[in-house]
């Protein structure tokens, strides 16, 4: 398997050894199955240990794994009859965001997500999953279309951030993000958001103001990337690991803080190790969310989103020792 990560090394070494023994057996016709079995048992133990105590920084590495499934990977597994729709009708088509109509368990939905590439060529086309304003405006167009035809919206979040470039500023990156926040606040259809990889700042939130917000176990969501935080806080982007520890950006942390609704478990070692299985975990969470939200009226959905975000924040009052969270 390509792209083994540093913290996985003990498991990788064992896996390599087992593979070596197996090929030796085949080649020489010698029966070493006892030995292989013994090693496999040990591997199971080592894997449990390695993946059982992942640090925030380990999770960031998994979230950035080159083979980590992307929005389009999940779309192909979660939905049927997907038809991709392009363009914001104002400027162009931003391939860093994909969206379209599809069916989920037979029912119509609109699905939108950040899309990064898996190789350099695709990454250039998709701008490394960093959208321009036209990407956010396409997303908004599709959300309003979903609202008109009364179908739920599913957003998959996976971005290093909104693109910080001259063209993006000229076309109103701030306004595009800000507009989406206010429009999502008022959307009268269910909106479920799932962070599947990286969730950096306003660029992620711009398709993330959901009724339900779920996170894959090894994804991260933060006001800024660990590197950016380190550069701002300690003037040293090399301290990204420390920032990842401090900033509470992982799914377990954000779940505990009550920022997200649910942490969707990942396949041991990360979603890339069994994409099909991972899609099943997501499917289950999504079905539950949509079932729950489909019970709500238009007004209830908007009010639900209002109450959800209204609560978030930590502060006290003078002469009042009780914190509000």
């Amino acid at each position: 398997m390509v792209g083994e990560l540093e913290f996985e090394r003990p498991a990788k070494e064992l896996r390599d050894k087992i593979a070596e023994l197996k090929s030796f057996m085949d080649e020489k016709g010698i029966d070493l199955s006892d030995e292989v079995e013994r090693l496999e048992e040990r591997l199971a133990k080592v894997e449990k240990e390695v993946y059982g105590k992942m640090t925030p920084w380990d999770r960031v590495q998994v979230a950035r794994h080159p083979e980590r499934p992307t929005t389009l990977d999940y779309i192909s597994m979660l939905f049927t009859d997907f038809l991709e729709l392009h363009g914001d009708r104002l400027y162009g088509d931003d391939e860093a965001i994909v969206g379209g109509i599809a069916k989920f368990h037979g029912k119509p939905v609109t699905v939108i997500g950040h899309q990064r590439g898996k190789d350099t060529k695709e990454n250039l086309r998709r701008n490394f999953g960093m959208p321009h304003p036209e990407g956010y405006r396409k997303a908004l167009r599709l959300m309003k279309q979903a609202e008109k035809f009364n179908r739920p919206v599913v957003c998959l979040l996976d971005t290093k951030g909104a693109y910080p470039g001259m063209s993006a500023e000229e076309r109103g990156q701030s306004e595009a993000i800000a507009r989406n926040l206010v429009e999502m606040a008022g959307l009268t259809v269910p909106l479920v958001c799932i962070i599947i990889g990286e969730g950096a700042s306003g660029g992620a939130l711009a398709i993330g103001v959901g009724n339900h917000v779920h996170m894959l176990e090894n994804s991260w969501y933060s006001v800024i990337s660990p590197e950016g935080a380190a550069a701002l806080l300690w003037k040293d982007s090399g301290q990204a690991k420390r920032a990842a520890d401090t900033m509470k950006i992982t799914a377990p942390d954000l779940n505990e803080m009550g920022i997200i609704d649910k942490m969707i478990p990942e396949v041991e070692g990360g979603a890339h190790r069994d994409v099909k299985k991972q899609a099943e975990y997501i499917e289950e969470a999504l079905q539950k969310s949509l079932d729950e939200l489909s019970e709500m009226s238009e007004e209830e959905l908007v009010a639900h989103r209002y109450e959800k975000y209204k609560k978030i924040g930590q502060y006290t009052f003078e002469n009042d020792s009780i914190g509000v969270k």
Partner: protein, 284 residues
């Protein structure tokens, strides 16, 4: 001998600090950081902190802004007793907050309240970049949200003067979520058919620019104010080319269709009053 008296005997060159450069001579006189001309501080204050020779708009404190915009004696502050917490246990964070509280006389980087503009009742929020660069954490987000809610409740226009470096790093995800929180409150205000005016002042960037600041029914800005999503340095690193000098200024935004108008400070109150008046529906 006599020559010695006039000879410069300075052994070391004096390099004035940035602060000195900006504020020297302190007190009575003020030097404009743009055109370098020196004027009396009294003169500058009388001109609402606009340079008398080059029109450079100096930064204002929240209190000065209220004095400029809100009719005398009508401002009634709300939520001035809200206190910042330290959710991520950042060392020194609350000490720095305390320092800025003492420095600015504010409880956080935004002041909110009720007031009148030429007799028009409004709810007003004014951010102050002297307090932690106007960055938005839980208290700033909550105060703005409550101000918007008060405006919705009392069916009043909401006017905000923004000045912010963006989301506050030290409160992590909670800061990011303030963008969503203020947005859900603005949505209600919007649905109620009420007026929202955003006035962007120097600087308005990052998460504040990418939320309430950019979605006013009217978006105004002060001349030359820095307004943008990403920092200039980050953009230069990303695209590896130098940016035009006026990049991310109010004038740049106006040219690119992001603003309704750039308004000189001396015309600001009259402009707001004009909009408020038109929104009253005219004469019977």
């Amino acid at each position: 001998m006599l020559k010695d008296l006039f000879a410069k005997k300075r052994k070391y060159a004096t390099i004035p600090s940035d602060r000195m450069k900006q504020e020297v001579p302190e007190g009575l006189m003020t030097k404009c950081p743009e055109c370098k001309s020196i004027m009396t501080t009294k003169e500058l204050n009388k001109a609402h902190k606009v340079c008398v020779s080059c029109d450079h708009h100096f930064r204002m404190t929240a209190q000065e802004r209220i004095q400029l915009i809100i009719d005398q004696g009508t401002f009634r502050e709300i939520n001035q007793d809200m206190k910042t917490e330290n959710p991520l246990d950042f060392p020194d964070y609350l000490d720095r907050i305390d320092k800025d509280r003492a420095k600015t006389g504010m409880n956080e980087a935004v002041m909110t309240g009720h007031g009148e503009v030429e007799g028009n009742p409004i709810v007003f929020a004014v951010m102050d970049a002297h307090f932690r660069m106007g960055s938005m954490g839980s208290v700033v987000g909550e105060k703005i949200t409550r101000a918007i809610e008060a405006a919705t409740e009392e069916r009043k226009p909401f006017i905000i003067f923004t000045a912010s470096g963006g989301a506050r790093m030290q409160e992590g995800i909670l800061s990011l979520m303030q963008m969503a929180k203020t947005s859900v409150a603005l949505r209600r205000h919007h649905e109620a058919g009420l007026l929202f005016i955003s006035v962007m002042t120097h600087p308005t960037t990052g998460g504040v620019s990418a939320s309430f600041a950019s979605v006013g029914d009217y978006n105004f800005a002060e001349p030359k104010a820095l307004i943008g999503f990403a920092g200039r340095r980050i953009i230069e690193q990303t695209i590896r080319q130098e940016l035009p000098e006026d990049f991310q200024t109010a004038e740049f935004l106006l040219k690119h269709g992001q603003l309704d108008a750039v308004v000189h400070r001396k015309k600001m109150k009259a402009t707001l009053a004009n909009v408020l008046d038109i929104h009253k529906g005219g004469e019977e």
